[in-house]
């Protein structure tokens, strides 16, 4: 397994020298793809660094799978360019792109043994038998699945099949590894451990990886960087922390993580943007509010963990009634009705295990806003309303 990693690194090194210092392993320049009248991907520009794990995150139909298929060569762009390793690959067919791909359903060849599945890419590359055998064994040991070489895919569990799929994709030392919703078929516990493992293997091999998911938690925990997509466009590219704490727009703010949307009023003083909600004054980044005049209403986006029950003397932002509790083990989700500032229920977290008893349903509470990570955006007209995370909050009891 160490030599597989070494091969990977040496390949990477060779690639780097040919691209004259560019550190982009994959680049999209204004890539667009239409299916009939539907624009699946609209003018996407994205640069993925060598060795990076880039996540494409968005709801279904956002274009993330289209983007992945364009990089894989399963689809051809209508406009724009795609580069792998500094070379334009628009017209290069999939089988010459030197990629590795892991499919949502794993797509293991049912008529081949596990060893033949994993060795398939090496056979296509004409690797000699002894070396092929050695590399297959290495790849299987890297994914911790030795001893199943002679079995057929249908004889393995879902988690094992996933390991085979990963081994098959990485054994060829691909220039880029493509993962299409790889965890969606696994149950929750297995999913968490596979996520950690795949992340470790990816690190170890240093293989550039594009990972597609609609699960924002998965994206936040695995990615080096995330590209958030919606309606065919890349809305924001950044580290998980940037995406979570400094979302570029309403969509990103509401899709990534839980968020409360509170109605406030903009108060611009000395170039500083401050939003007034209830008795609280919250300073927010000014850039998204360039078109809003002082005194106009704005939507303040606040994460549940930034809200807490106000202690005496603290300015109260939201006054509401406890409507429901959800016990989550380590914390309790409190849902508040506060119709003056929020159309749906306000979600906050309490780490106190007896929160349910201390603030039973119907209790009037005052909530303050802590921290400096609140964001404010223009109030949107109903027609632009963003679907996604807000639905999830509405669906709560």
């Amino acid at each position: 397994m160490s030599s597989l990693a070494a091969e990977r690194r040496s390949n990477g090194g060779a690639g780097a020298s040919t691209t004259a210092g560019s550190d982009a392993a994959v680049r999209l320049l204004g890539a667009s793809k239409r299916f009939g009248k539907v624009v699946a991907l609209n003018d996407a520009t994205l640069s993925i660094r060598r060795g990076e794990l880039m996540t494409l995150l968005g709801p279904s139909g956002c274009g993330k799978t289209t983007l992945l298929n364009l990089v894989a060569g399963f689809l051809v762009v209508d406009d724009g360019e795609i580069e792998i390793d500094g070379k334009r690959v628009n017209e290069i067919p999939t089988y010459k792109r030197e990629i590795g791909m892991m499919f949502q359903n794993y797509a293991l060849f049912p008529h081949m043994s596990i060893a033949d599945n994993v060795g398939y890419g090496l056979r296509m590359r004409g690797v000699a038998k002894p070396e092929l055998k050695r590399r297959v064994a290495e790849a299987l040991s890297l994914v911790r699945l030795s001893g199943v070489e002679d079995r057929r895919p249908h004889q393995l569990s879902g988690g094992q099949q996933q390991r085979v799929a990963l081994a098959r994709a990485i054994v060829v030392s691909p220039k880029v590894l493509l993962l299409d919703e790889p965890f969606s078929a696994l149950d929750r516990n297995l999913r968490a451990s596979m996520q950690i493992e795949i992340k470790e293997i990816q690190r170890q091999l240093g293989v550039t990886t594009i990972f597609v998911t609609h699960d924002q938690g998965e994206a936040l925990s695995l990615s080096d960087r995330i590209a958030v997509m919606f309606e065919g466009r890349i809305r924001q590219v950044g580290s998980p922390d940037e995406i979570y704490r400094r979302p570029a727009d309403r969509f990103v703010a509401s899709f990534v993580g839980d968020v409360n949307v509170l109605r406030g009023r903009l108060d611009r003083t000395d170039g500083q943007a401050v939003v007034t909600v209830g008795a609280a004054r919250i300073s927010v980044p000014g850039e998204p509010l360039a078109r809003v005049r002082s005194g106009d209403p704005v939507d303040l986006f606040v994460r549940p963990e930034q809200l807490r029950l106000a202690s005496a003397g603290e300015p109260i932002a939201v006054e509401g009634t406890v409507a429901a509790h959800i016990y989550q083990g380590g914390y309790v989700n409190l849902y508040l009705e506060a119709p003056e500032v929020c159309t749906s229920r306000v979600l906050m977290r309490s780490l106190e295990p007896d929160a349910i008893n201390r603030w039973p349903t119907g209790t009037r509470v005052g909530v303050s806003i802590a921290g400096s990570d609140a964001m404010a955006f223009e109030v949107e007209s109903a027609s632009q309303s963003v679907q996604g995370k807000e639905e999830k909050l509405d669906a709560s009891p």
Partner: protein, 264 residues
């Protein structure tokens, strides 16, 4: 669950379905030279006679030749069209499919008569070519459906996976598509061969003395004689076909081909 009346009804229906085959089988062992049921004395001799009769022997050989060629050509044509219909969008797709399947709704004697008239025009009426051509048309729908269903069941992501691993289109076909389609292809071929071998109505028009297939030879025999060798031959027919299908089902999973079992 069914009750006595229900059980009897089911048994009656099942009995009715296998009755003809059962009657013929019993009649085949009649020692007398008449087709009678039930026989009074028993014998194997009509089996020996059927196997020795020259028209049956040549009919069997002709049937194999025709079935072999017709089903192979139908497989090639049907598989190609099934592939095109499954994978590509093109104008008149539905019309083309309807034409290919049309022999399912056109009576066999119409098709046979049509081929006879055409073949007489170009002077081919005495050869195997017209019989084979006629049978290709007759069995094509079955091959087409069989391959089409297999293609539908084939997860195209397997082909994409192969391509992503560096397999050129030709190698994807050879290492993934064809091996996975094999049951459908072989099953379709077998189905076509059996249908062709058993086909009578159209064959009656397009075969000549030299090219007559087994069902036609049997028909000609029964017009002149009424001894149990016909019944004996029928029994051999049933046993051979059933054996073939059983073996094919065991090795190929015809259930999958005919889409009666779910894949996952």
């Amino acid at each position: 669950m069914l009750g006595i009346a229900g059980t009897l009804a089911v048994l009656a229906i099942l009995g009715f379905v296998i009755l003809p085959a059962a009657v013929v089988t019993v009649a085949a062992f009649n020692d007398k030279a008449i087709l009678a049921f039930p026989p009074e004395t028993w014998s194997w001799r009509w089996f020996a006679k059927a196997l020795a009769y020259e028209d049956f022997r040549s009919g069997f050989r002709n049937g194999l030749i025709v079935a072999g060629w017709a089903s192979s050509i139908a497989l090639l044509v049907g598989a190609t069209f099934a592939f095109a219909l499954d994978r590509y969008a093109f104008p008149l797709k539905r019309t083309i499919e309807a034409v290919l399947l049309s022999s399912l709704v056109v009576p066999h004697f119409t098709i046979g008569l049509g081929f006879l008239i055409l073949a007489a025009q170009i002077g081919w009426a005495r050869g195997f070519a017209v019989v084979v051509a006629c049978h290709v048309v007759l069995v094509l729908p079955f091959v087409l459906r069989s391959v089409y269903v297999s293609l539908r069941n084939l997860d195209q992501r397997l082909e994409l996976a192969a391509a992503s691993l560096g397999a050129s289109p030709g190698r994807v076909l050879a290492t993934v598509t064809l091996p996975l389609l094999a049951p459908g292809l072989v099953g379709g071929w077998l189905l076509a061969a059996i249908l062709s071998f058993n086909e009578f109505t159209a064959s009656l028009f397009v075969t000549a003395q030299r090219t007559q297939t087994l069902p036609v030879a049997m028909y000609n025999y029964v017009r002149e004689y009424a001894d149990p060798s016909m019944a004996a031959l029928s029994v051999l027919y049933i046993v051979a076909t059933a054996t073939l299908l059983t073996v094919a089902n065991a090795y190929l999973g015809l259930g999958k081909v005919l889409n009666v079992e779910s894949r996952r």
